[in-house]
Symmetry: C2
């Protein structure tokens, strides 16, 4: 089976962009990716988006974005898996290229969350949870984060402050990323005094919703080698699911889909934990960062927070995470987030991460979660150079 490689990267700033339509937002990332790959045409477009129908009263982004990007006529669809939509769209692009029916695929994640014309964003985000059994009772995404964090603190005897360095690290890295939503550094003392969002989750535990778009262009690896100086190989790709509702899980603190998809992607890539130079994980909440490190096997259950405490997640640590700020500081533009993660890993592997560079990075992993982890998509990227 053909290996698939990334030949182009594009991303916009993450911020509030009230004056930018969703089609423009997608186009800015696509334009950058086409420029980067030095290609002018692709065979298929996969759009990762979760909520344009609810937030912008606009479905049918496949046709809309294809037309607006000057690609009228091509195959184009939207892929949705809550905030894992971006990773899921890349997975579909990979399947398409591997099928042999699509030579070059463009995958763009786009989300416009800050000036919704439809439903309020908190209600829309709650529709990524179980509408009939969770959201109907008032559970929000922040409330879900609070349930997980409280359970984690209870089970493992840790305090709110023990999560601080996830946020401090994300902000330190975001400070050097000109595209990040928040570029302010954060001191651990400030973390402790942050206003509550849903106790024990505070403003500095929770990632902010933002507007943004990120894109990659992929093709078969042999072709990629002739096209660009530094193709980034997608060595492993896997998508797995778990129960949608938290109450259906045997263990709230075990992100089963994250574990399955990480194991499958790493097995496909033939890499072990020691081989992985950085891990862009889904730090929608500090506790989800801890749980993701555990599910992916970088820490034993209950010990993910220790990697933050010991600063093993920093640029020179054992497993650097959120190297451009993560969801917490770069921002979390819903269905675009999974593609920001992949673009960031690819920039690290190309050695184009500027002040955020992880020295000598060869292999990186990106993991995008949806809802409370009911969907997990993991990609392992590597460079031959």
């Amino acid at each position: 089976m053909n290996d698939v490689s990334i030949i182009g990267l594009g991303q916009t700033e993450v911020k509030e962009m009230w004056g930018t339509s969703i089609r423009h937002l997608a186009w800015y990332a696509i334009e950058a990716a086409l420029d980067d790959a030095q290609v002018s045409k692709v065979d298929a477009l996969f759009v990762g988006n979760m909520a344009a129908g609810q937030l912008s009263s606009q479905m049918h982004l496949g046709a809309l974005v294809a037309d607006f990007a000057g690609m009228r006529g091509i195959e184009a669809v939207t892929v949705e898996a809550a905030d894992a939509s971006g990773g899921a769209a890349l997975r579909q692009g990979i399947l398409a290229v591997k099928s042999g029916l699509v030579e070059t695929a463009l995958v763009v994640g786009v989300e416009k969350m800050t000036d919704q014309v439809g439903s309020p964003v908190t209600a829309v985000l709650a529709s990524t949870l179980d509408a009939d059994y969770e959201a109907i009772h008032g559970l929000t995404v922040a409330g879900m984060g609070a349930l997980l964090m409280r359970r984690y603190m209870h089970e493992y005897g840790v305090s709110v402050d023990d999560f601080a360095n996830f946020s401090v690290n994300a902000h330190a890295n975001g400070a050097a990323n000109p595209l990040a939503m928040y570029r302010n550094r954060l001191k651990a003392e400030r973390f402790a005094s942050a206003p509550p969002v849903a106790t024990p989750v505070t403003l500095f535990d929770a990632a902010p919703s933002g507007d943004g778009a990120a894109a990659v262009i992929i093709t078969r690896h042999e072709r990629a080698m002739d096209m660009v100086p530094q193709p980034v190989r997608i060595a492993g790709s896997a998508l797995a699911t778990d129960t949608l509702a938290l109450h259906d899980r045997k263990n709230l603190l075990h992100l089963r889909a994250a574990e399955i998809s990480a194991q499958k992607a790493m097995a496909a890539a033939g890499v072990s934990h020691d081989d992985i130079d950085l891990f862009e994980l889904h730090d929608s909440f500090t506790v989800v960062a801890a749980l993701s490190l555990e599910a992916a096997g970088f820490a034993a259950p209950g010990e993910g927070w220790q990697l933050a405490r010991d600063n093993e997640i920093g640029r020179n640590g054992r497993i650097p995470i959120s190297t451009f700020g993560g969801l917490k500081a770069r921002g979390n533009p819903g269905g675009a987030t999974g593609l920001y993660q992949v673009v960031e890993v690819a920039r690290q592997l190309r050695g184009q991460a500027g002040d955020n560079q992880i020295p000598d990075a060869k292999i990186g992993m990106a993991q995008n979660l949806g809802g409370s982890g009911a969907t997990a998509v993991t990609h392992v990227l590597r460079t031959d150079s």
Copy 2:
């Protein structure tokens, strides 16, 4: 490249199902398809759905349906392309099987449209059009049908009554389909006196929204031959797009995406028009049926309506359409419609169409449109027996 075949079919009635949740609706079709294929597990699930976020405040159907169907953990995503979501989901399933990474894929289309808890259905359907340039000015899907129908009448000098037999034929076929939303026969005289929806579109030009789900199970053809007595081969598959907005098209009456996707799917299957024994087209409006026949090459521009007038679309006509009632009489459950079409073609090719059987059907085509035709997905199916 591996050919892909259908090994299981399932569908529910199309009607108003206020007491049935979207997860139950999907499950009923999946259960029937698993029974039909005599399999108990699949490797991946593709859900075709356009509007559960807006109508039921429930995104993330991939994980939800996988879990509810007893397939917790598997790869599962939602594919959206307006009312072409069902056909688009099947296309993704085919790419997945052809990639070699997925052995058996389950594709289910599901839509629950009649007891929306969120936005009103007319506004939701309008979000399949261009939100910023069409819907914002008040264009609805029925209004879009009216624009097309009036233009057709003007260009080609035909009258409202010239469209009658599309509806009469659909209702005659729906009458024999126990799963159809409307099983009443329709006389041409009644057509002429129907109440207007958006002049010149009347109640009998426009297909009704309904609740429903349909599913197919697919795998590689060689494997399918060992598994079921009558695998139905997917000989051609293509998805194409057009401008989202009507005003961006050079010719309003040319469904360019429908033409491209039909040509590609037929070329892949190596079939000509004379080989095709039936055509399940997207008769969301009578005029769209006429335009679809023209775009797919069964009639010259401006002459599609004549196939209805001469009853060449009937069970014994030159190109039978809407053989189980079509969108008009079977009903149009949004993102499920494309899979109803494929299930119906497959039943015809298996010789399991009962009173709706097209004699000796060997090759059939299904074409699913989104919005005003901005997405078109065409599948050519054939049986070896």
